[in-house]
Every structure is written in C-alpha cells, then in structure tokens.
Amino acid sequence: MTTPIVSLTDAGKSYNKLDALQSVTMTLGEGEVLGLFGHNGAGKTTMMKLILGVISPSRGQVAVMGMAPDSKEAWHCRTKVGYLPENVSFYEQLTGLEVLTYFAKLKGFNKKQAIDLLEQVGITHAMKRQVKTYSKGMRQRLGLAQAFIGEPKLLLLDEPTVGLDPIATGDFYRTVDQLKSQGSSVILCSHVLPGVEQHIDRAMILSSGQLLAMGSLAELRHQAALPVEIKAHGLNGAIASHDHLANFISPVCSQTLNVPEAEKISVLKTLLGFDNIEDIHVESANLEQVYQHYLALHAQKQQAKGQS
C-alpha cells in the first residue's frame, strides 16, 4: 500500500470546552471501504468535516491525499472528493437536472456528465421535474449522483441509504463495490447497519467523540469475544442432558447454544454426532451485536469512572 488516501494522527476537534472528537488516529488506503458507526453526536459528522477540510482540527494532523484538507494547496484535491451530507435538501424550485448541473459546473464538469450521473442513479425520468416533487428516495439518489460527480477518489457518505427502498439500497451497494474496484476509497457513515457488512473492509465505532474500536469485522468480533449462536433442531432434551453442551444453553431459548468462537467446531462436531439431528443453524455475531457490545462496554466504563 502506498500513501494512504486519508490519515488522521491524534486528530481531534473541540468546540469551546466540548470535545466533539477526541484524539483519533486512523488511515484509509486506496480502494478501502470504511464503515463509521455511532449514535447521533458520536462525532461521525465532525470527523467527516475534518476530512473534508470544512473545519480545522483543534489538535493533531489530518491529511487527505498527502495534504492538509483545510489548506490552500489541497484546493484542487477537492474535485476528487465526493460528499453526501446527512439531511440535505436541495434547491426545491430547481429541477433535478438543474441542481446537478450547478454542482457539476462547480467541479468543472458540464451538463452532459450531469445527465449521465442521473442515469446512473436511475432518476433520468424525473430530471425535468422540480426537486420539491421528488420522493425521499429520489432526493437521496440525487444526493448520491451529486457525490459521484467526477469519479471521486474519496467518497464520504453520511447515512447514504436512509429513505432508499431495498432495491435502491442494493443498487447503491453495487455502486459502492464498483467504485471500490476502480480504486476509490469510501467512508460510509451510518447508525446501523444490516446489509452493510459485506461491503465494508473495516469498521470504526465512535461514541461521544471517542474511538471505541476499529478493525475488520472479524477482528472486532474476535476482540469482543462474542459467542456464536448455534441452533440445533430435532434433539429435544438431548442437549440439556449432555454434560458439555448444557453449559452453553442460552438463557432465552433451550434450543439455542451460545458458544465461544474457539469452541465452535468441537460443539458442532458433538452435535453432528447425534443421530436424530435434523438441522443446524450457525450464526456468528453480526455487526449490530458487535456494535452494541462496544457501546455497552463503554457505558460500563463510564459508570465505573463516575463512581470512583
């Protein structure tokens, strides 16, 4: 890997005394997709703004394509960065095409490219209509088309799938995969989460301006040591009476076993040894569970700190 597209070194941002983002260190390589997760006010947007160069860090360094994004030298790099803000409502009286043409021109492109982009996101049929007649999904697509102007090397997408129907969401993730294969780096910002897992290389979890965890999903799962959920059908009471397996029975459901990752294979082997087994369902902890785990851990730490 050559120079990273984005690198943050102990970068943080404070407003007056409030730490919107505590010191964060991270890098994003070429063609990498990073998921940025956290509640409202967790510092996601602040981090995005730092990378976009709209605000300057209070401490530490931010570099995008090797330059400080808030500096004059980084000016021309801005054409190579695409951004979809959360809750943007475009000029309502303009048509979709007019909106996109305006933004394309500001990046040095023309109307033709704007039309191509509208086709890519699938709202060509409505491009001559005023934006105020658009549905939420169509507005979101227009926003995405805006972020895709000029085949950006770096894309920052804040809640990109809000308001999209499942088909459009699928289309969107396909576009992300495509951009990734072309070497673009993407930062996806989201509350949560289903469907996003297969499309991100790494996840970053933020809470109240603090970086809680960062790594690939497998790494995070490993760190969190969350159990694998195994459901076996057809065994009835056999599990409960088995010495070893009985330890793992979930408190919620007697058919379900919560097994540590390390024990997974041995448990599966034991289960397969039963003659009357009908079906086995194995599910590793998903992103949402990992996310909840880190948030709960953080809350516990805060509480402990408050008490001491």
Binding site: V54, I55, W75, E86, N87, Q93, L94, F103, L106, Q146
Partner: protein
C-alpha cells in the same frame, strides 16, 4: 472567476424563476409612471408634472421600497442554505467562501440593478418623449445610479444579517428591524436632534451624521439639485450644507463595499 460566475448565474436564474425580477420591475415601473403622470394630482392638476417634483416624489418612495426589496430578496441567502444543508456541501467543493459570497452578490445584485434600470428607466423614456428635455436624462441617470447603489448596499447589509444568525425566521426579523432603523427611525432621530436640542448640531455635523445612513445619502443625492420647495424635514437643512454629488456617490459606494467586505470577513470566520 468561473466559480463566481457559476454561482452568480444560478442566483440570477433563481431571481428570474421566483418572479422577483418581474415583480420588482413592475412595481418600480408602475410607481414611477404613476408618479410621473399623477404626481401633481394633489395640487389639483393632471398630466405630467415638473421634473423636480417627479424626482422628489420618486426618491422619497424609492428610499422606502428599495431597501425593503433588497432585504427581502437576500435575507435568507446564507441562513437558508445553511438550514437546508447545501451551504456545508458547497463549502466542500472547490469554491471559496469569498467566491460564493461574491457570486451571490453579483447574481442578486444584477436582479436589483436590472429591475431598477428597467422600472425607472421606463418612466424616464416616457417623460423624455413628452418633454424632450435633456435634463431628464441626466436627472434620471443619477437617480437610477444611486438607486442601484442603494439596492446593492442593502443587499450587502442583508448578507451581514444572513451570516450572523442561525435561523431563517430570525434573519427575517432582523431584516425588518434594519429596514425600520435605516428608512424611518434614523430620520426621526435626526429631526428630534435638530428640533429638540438647541444649537445641538451644526449643518455640517448633520450632513456628516447623514453619511451614516445609505438611505439618507440616496435622498441627498437626488434632492440636492432640486428646488427646495419640494423638500422638507431634516433634509432641507442638510442640503444647504451639501457635499458635491461626486462625494455623495462615493459615500454610497462605500456603503456597498464596506458591508460586503465585512460580510466576507464574518463568513470566513463562521463555524459550520
């Protein structure tokens, strides 16, 4: 420069689309043609009145209308885009804050300037065909020039408002107060000062005070050359100690440049 023009072009087309240009032009044209024809109705005459009466009545109406229109047109320029999220987005583009502000100013300024030119120009043409007096051309040129500057000045002032508040409704409120202060309250205060405090203020002092209000400078520009019988109030006093037209126009231009520079300064320091 290309960026500035892109923004200006968009703002100008917004003005066309929202029928701002058409409505302002129409208001100015109806007003000025009406005053040209019926300005003397009060004194029992009909038909075209004298040039000085026309300019005097036009100026005293324009001084209320133009600031109001300029403030209405531009008060939400920034706070509106901030609320809808496009301001943040625009600033991630290769577009500096100064470019964005100047682009908006050129776009919206053109709307005001064009409306003033066409609206008041219409009655100038009408008057010229009726009277065929060359004085009309010079008087109206000065009137239109100063009216455009007055409009631009209040456009810049409304940017100051739009950049200093965080909600659109607040911006509207401040715009209204600003209008009231400059168009009405300032003059009343001056008058009170003149009448209430004996020897409180010299003529020169009064004229200098008037430089603090672009609306008063506009009045001075247009009324100074007229018969004083058409002018009354604090102005009549000030006119006797008047500055030259060149100085007045310079002062009015300063009232465009200074708020605009200040707006750029505030915008640059604004947190998003």
């Amino acid at each position: 420069m290309k960026q500035i023009l892109t923004v200006a072009n968009k703002e100008f087309h917004d003005g066309l689309r929202n029928r701002w240009l058409v409505s302002i032009t129409l208001i100015f044209a109806l007003l000025s043609v009406g005053l040209t024809y019926f300005g003397a109705a009060a004194s029992g005459e009909m038909g075209i009145t004298s040039l000085s009466t026309t300019i005097a009545s036009l100026a005293s109406l324009a001084v209320f209308l133009i600031p109001l229109i300029a403030l209405l047109l531009s008060y939400d320029s920034f706070v509106g885009e901030q609320e809808s999220g496009t301001l943040l987005l625009l600033l991630t583009y290769p577009l500096s804050k100064t470019q964005l502000l100047l682009g908006k100013f050129i776009g919206q300024g053109s709307i005001i300037a064009l409306a003033t030119l066409i609206g008041f120009g219409a009655s100038a043409v009408l008057l010229y065909f009726q009277l065929e007096d060359n004085a009309i051309v010079s008087a109206f040129s000065l009137f239109i020039l100063s009216a455009v500057l007055l409009g631009l000045s209040f456009t810049a002032i409304s940017y100051l408002i739009s950049l200093s508040v965080s909600e659109k409704s607040k911006a509207a409120g401040f715009a209204l107060i600003t209008w009231f202060l400059f168009a009405l309250a300032f003059d009343l205060a001056l008058l009170a000062l003149l009448v209430g405090v004996e020897d409180g203020i010299s003529q020169t002092g009064l004229t200098q005070l008037m430089m603090l209000n672009p609306a008063d400078i506009f009045r001075l520009v247009n009324l100074a050359g007229l018969d004083s019988s058409d002018v009354n109030g604090a102005l009549a006093v000030a006119i006797n100690a008047s500055l030259s037209q060149g100085q007045l126009i310079t002062a009015l231009t300063a009232w465009v440049a200074i708020p605009l520079t200040l707006a750029i300064f505030i915008f640059r320091r604004k947190k998003l």
